[in-house]
Assembly symmetry: C2
Homo-oligomer: 333 residues x 2
Amino acid sequence: MAAPRYDVLGIGNAIVDVIARAEDDFLVAHGMHKGTMALIDEARAQAIYDAMGPAVESSGGSAANTIVGVASFGGRAAFVGKVKDDELGRAFAHDIRAARVTFDTPPASDGPSTARCYIMVTPDGERTMNTFLGAAQDLHPNDIDEATIAAAAIVYLEGYLWDPPHAKEAFVKAAAIAHRAGRRVALTLSDSFCVDRYRAEFLALIRKGTVDIVFANEHELRSLYQTADFDTAVKQLRGDAKLAVVTRSEKGCVVVSRDAVEAVQAMPIDQVVDVTGAGDLFAAGFLVGHSHGKDHRTAARLGALAAAEVIQHIGARPAVTLKALAAENGLPV
Amino acid sequence: MAAPRYDVLGIGNAIVDVIARAEDDFLVAHGMHKGTMALIDEARAQAIYDAMGPAVESSGGSAANTIVGVASFGGRAAFVGKVKDDELGRAFAHDIRAARVTFDTPPASDGPSTARCYIMVTPDGERTMNTFLGAAQDLHPNDIDEATIAAAAIVYLEGYLWDPPHAKEAFVKAAAIAHRAGRRVALTLSDSFCVDRYRAEFLALIRKGTVDIVFANEHELRSLYQTADFDTAVKQLRGDAKLAVVTRSEKGCVVVSRDAVEAVQAMPIDQVVDVTGAGDLFAAGFLVGHSHGKDHRTAARLGALAAAEVIQHIGARPAVTLKALAAENGLPV
């Protein structure tokens, strides 16, 4: 087995975020479920955009945010996802490459425009997301390059990939390549409604060992096992997954393995401005720590540090170099 | 004379900002003059974009930022400027309309793309700007609608309009309409290099009374009168202008009129994050106060308040409602 060229390679929907502040009333008036992600068609995207306030555009996408976080920690990172060759697609490609992530997926030359996620940030810092998948729908198994996938120590996949029609085939192909190459596969469950849409498939991936490391927040975990009781869900997860990390916002996280369930505290912060990207950046810290051979607790603390950074400003990507931030916090990567 | 329908109508280059953090070394390596605005062609725009870090896109443009500030203070506001009918142009139009600004200038259907300003924010919070004017070059006197201009108590123009070939004709046409309708005309000098390009013309506008209110920072003022001595420049300005406001960053501002030179302090702030928009938002506060009949000192304090808000976050437009912020600070508008 060759030494990996990348610490983490992510596969996900390549999305540009369109972020505006909104009052809670706005969510109610537009039928949005606070704190969750809804898929929308182009007509609804236009209607939401027309109604929402002044916005800023910032590259996003769950796995893409994670991979940018990995690179910010100094990890060797690559991303696979589909944009169109349009202004927003070029912005997405610029931003991820400028973050020193290898990104070679060819853009779509026709078809729908680059995916956009309309994000409403309410005064409490919670984010409510509406995703028009656009060109991300065209991610196809042909976009999965065997040599690239096999060169990554960990292949990280987002549960949202179950939404576009061919992306799950790309996902399954990548997982198979990774395992043949002796690499590991990680999955984030993405969103509680996403879990609701694909519960049986996600459980099968975990139970069959297609996935080695699972990331979930407590809502997603409860949805996965259809229980309101956190401890019950953790117990089931422990039986199913080789390694899992469950994030619990300000309550920190638990690292669940066959050997132990370890709780790790969240980082204290001054003010939550925008929680967008919290889970994504937690995964970045954990994955970079894990791929560098740190113990679970240290990896989880790196995750907590990155999550704390990203929720203190607007936007889902780090505003500082996470490697430097980690060193300042006594967590050299 | 009919009651004005708008407190302030701005005419300026309609630009989308592309904002990234950069070290001072980056400015040196790319031949940029810190703190200033340079005009660039499309090839240089591409080269700068390729070299710069991950960016966020946010609607900008000097006069447009001011007008959005006026609307945020609850002022009745309109804007005239040229975008292309492309993704960034639609974002510009969305953002300014979502800020409750009337914006009816038809977009260009062909020709260059919507103007972009590549902004490097250094660790000291200073911004260095590189503007590709694109579709803003196509602002034409035909875009100046007589009834709209005549309906604004103050027409506010940016000195940057001297750069695109036909915009200055639009500027002169708008000023003439405003004065025929018994309205006032305000001008910002925009940038010290801009003053250097058009010194004689700017002085003529002020001396001939084409402009009633002048906004400048101290660098621009010194450039206008080609003197290193601030007091000498202020004395000359007092002889030339009916009313002028000179901003001096953390030293506050001076309001210069035939009757008096009044100094007004800056608002104390915790940390300068990004000075982009400081002058634009100062003008917003002053103009809204002035158009609402406040005295010069109160108008300047509203300007200082808006400037202080905008420099404490990334981006050149207010992140809070300035009307509420003013009320909280004992400055009801």
